[in-house]
């Protein structure tokens, strides 16, 4: 029996979470630029605070514009719910703060965004949360790093900037066998390329600043709850399975079932840490998501052209992209990222650090900046920017050499992108 027809990804990217505005009939999602919302009466006010009624109280907790974005990403990721946050880092922090407490532990891939590394390796240790970093390709390392006080396993779908593809089904199984959820950062892939929850991940976070927006004009994050993890059965998550004095002894797993995590994250994490998204930002991200499929297709088409070009250049030592047969995760990428594994990738330039600097400074079309996933092509030298806090040992562990260049391939004409790279590569070798 075929499944009943449901709306497809491209339709949901345009419509999920939004009805024409009930007040005005506006087709586009209105920006509800309001800090607070008027109560019908006192009893309704209490009901909203006490989770008896659905609606909005104060925009730190929820906002109608943000709610459209939250429901849209939850729908695209096959999650039960989502929360829009001030940044990707805020989404990451919200995920951790909801289920990990002082004295507990995280197992994380060592090939992750530098900002996330800072949070895990420096800041959270100050709050009593330790992290063990492992090679994301080493499944045994994930298993053996899990301790009795571990509460979370974390990785990026595609490692940054090492380009390791996470074996989501296997790592999820390792986590679940230990009674732990798997959180993945899917910023590079977006739900267009990969829906991690379908492969076993329990929680997903995005820096919505990147491909989801595409325009690079806002900072925002999204945290998605798959609704798949059994918080009660695990027995390791009292914040979800025991009465919470901070909300009149509410037991989130008991009362909200599959939506326990995302409800606690909103009712505690957004309430108390306050890293909410501005409604204007949510609107901008929604504009990006409307064209996500079209943009991601073009990003991947251009990436294929660029990777093929770089492979042929004598100034290039190696190209690191899962689409290449020589990449260690090529077969895995075909299985879990069949539409392409990302438009962000890296290569090593002949001549190391000096050549890398010359290359970047001679590019005209590419922008040298600390971002990825823009409509415009971007370039950066990780060792001196995003990962500059890591010493040489840590850099080496993260698979970053001094000549590593990270590219984020944009939506320009592929011929123009290639021409700019060719010019930069020529310049990179002068005077070496």
């Amino acid at each position: 029996m075929a499944k009943p027809p449901t709306l497809k990804f491209d339709s949901l990217a345009l419509h999920a979470g939004q009805k024409p505005d009930p007040a005005t009939g506006a087709r586009a999602t209105p920006i509800y630029q309001s800090a607070s919302f008027v109560f019908r009466d006192t009893d309704t006010a209490v009901g909203l605070f006490n989770i008896e009624r659905a609606g909005h109280v104060y925009s730190r907790l929820s906002n109608p514009t943000n709610a459209v974005l939250e429901e849209r990403i939850a729908t695209l990721d096959n999650g039960v719910g989502a929360i829009a946050t001030a940044s990707g880092q805020a989404a990451m922090h919200l995920a951790i703060a909801t289920i990990v407490s002082a004295g507990e532990h995280i197992v994380a891939s060592r090939s992750i965004y530098g900002g996330t590394h800072n949070l895990l390796d420096y800041t959270l240790r100050r709050f009593g949360i330790d992290t063990t970093f492992v090679d994301p390709r080493d499944l045994d390392a994930f298993a053996s790093a899990i301790q009795p006080n571990t509460r979370l396993v974390f990785s990026e779908v595609v490692g940054n900037p090492g380009m390791e593809v996470l074996n989501i089904p296997e790592v999820a199984e390792i986590a679940h066998e230990a009674g732990l959820p798997l959180l993945v950062d899917a910023t590079f892939t977006t739900p267009y390329l990969c829906r991690p929850i379908d492969f076993g991940a329990d929680l997903v976070m995005h820096s919505a600043t990147k491909f989801l927006s595409g325009h690079g004009v806002v900072i925002g994050g999204l945290l998605v709850d798959g609704g798949t993890f059994d918080w009660q059965g695990s027995g390791k998550f009292p914040t979800l399975s025991e009465p919470y004095a901070g909300f009149h002894n509410l037991n989130f797993a008991e009362e909200f079932g599959p939506a326990a995590f995302i409800t606690r994250a909103r009712k505690e994490g957004l309430r108390d840490f306050g890293a909410c998204m501005a409604p204007n930002t949510a609107f901008q991200i929604l504009q990006g998501i409307e064209t996500l499929s079209l943009r991601m297709q073009r990003h991947m088409e251009n990436t294929e052209v660029v990777v093929a070009f770089l492979e042929q250049q004598e100034q290039v030592e190696s190209v690191n992209h899962p689409m290449l047969e020589a990449h260690p995760d090529h077969e895995l990428a075909k299985a879990i990222l069949p539409k392409g594994s990302t438009a962000v990738f890296s290569f090593n330039i002949v001549g190391g650090r000096a050549a890398g600097i010359k290359f970047i400074e001679n590019l005209k079309l590419f922008s040298h900046l600390a971002n990825v996933g823009d409509a415009k092509s971007l370039v950066i030298h990780p060792a001196s920017t995003t990962h500059h806090r890591m010493d040489s040992v840590a850099l080496d562990k993260a698979g970053i050499s001094e000549g590593l260049i990270r590219l984020s391939i944009g939506l320009e004409d592929a011929a123009d992108i290639v021409a700019d790279l060719k010019s930069g590569l020529r310049a990179s070798q002068r005077g070496l």
Binding site: K3, A54, G81, E255, F256, P258, R266
Partner: protein, 262 residues
């Protein structure tokens, strides 16, 4: 909260309230493959308004143990046994979908213990299509996909939840996916086999309220209205746009309606 009903561990939510003798009682009965969590908002509302709330997990559902009950009659008898254990003499009986059949059956056969009746998404009979029944019998995931999709209106499928940031479709799907093997089939089979609804509807003596959703594909509006006409004192609240998953699609209107009778 846990208790023992017919020697089986039984869970009920009291909506974070207190059970105090003398307060009015309200019993919530969930639908096929569901559990008490579908009633979270009305449970919390009535608990705050000084009701004794009993949002029960039927056997084999949610946090309750035991084998699934095989018929609507057996479920209504089980509700009676649960009320005995919980020391509840009479209560407002509220049911959704399969739970509405249980509520209707209970209200007709245990009239003295039914203060008022509220039915959401009902139909007598409540036939279940063979493709869904067969998929549930074979414990195929398609059964959840079919039921969940058909439980939402086109508007519900699109989203725009009153409850911020929550996907109605995926919440329903994940809840069904928690159902143990063979339980969903037992539920659907009980609905499909329930043949005495029209006669029982005429015997209901309590004030009653029926919620009818305009885009309900699981229990068609015309069928629901027919049941409402058979119940001697039945008021109807029309929900539009709304599908069978009315607690998700129209939570505030449903709550206001329940508050008007419970």
């Amino acid at each position: 909260m846990y208790t023992q009903v017919n020697d089986q561990k039984t869970f009920y939510s009291n909506g974070n309230g207190k059970i105090i003798k003398g307060q009015p009682n309200v019993v919530f009965i969930h639908g096929a493959g569901h559990d008490h969590s579908v009633w979270v908002m009305p449970s919390r509302y009535f608990a705050r308004h000084h009701y004794n709330v009993f949002a029960l997990d039927l056997p084999a559902h949610g946090r309750s143990s035991g084998p699934p009950l095989k018929s609507i009659d057996a479920m209504a008898d089980w509700i009676c046994a649960a009320l005995d254990v919980l020391d509840v003499d009479a209560a407002a009986i509220v049911g959704h979908s399969m739970g509405s059949l249980v509520a209707l059956n209970f209200a007709a056969r245990y009239a003295s213990r039914t203060r008022v009746l509220a039915l959401l998404g009902t139909s007598t009979p409540m036939p279940v299509t063979d493709v869904l029944l067969n998929a549930a019998r074979d414990n195929e995931h398609d059964a959840f996909d079919m039921a969940n999709t058909w439980s939402h209106s086109p508007f519900g499928e699109m989203g725009g939840n009153e409850n911020p940031g929550i996907s109605m479709m995926m919440s329903g799907q994940r809840l069904l996916e928690r159902t143990p093997e063979d339980v969903y089939f037992a539920d659907l089979n009980a609905c499909n086999a329930f043949a005495d609804g029209d006669r029982l509807a005429t015997q209901i003596t309590s004030a009653s309220l029926m919620f009818v959703a305009a885009q309900d594909k699981m229990t068609a509006p015309a069928s629901a209205l027919k049941v409402a006409q058979l119940i001697p004192q039945c008021r109807v609240i029309h929900l539009n746009p709304c599908g069978h998953a009315m607690l998700s699609e129209q939570p505030n209107t449903v709550l206001d309606g329940l508050a008007s009778i419970v």
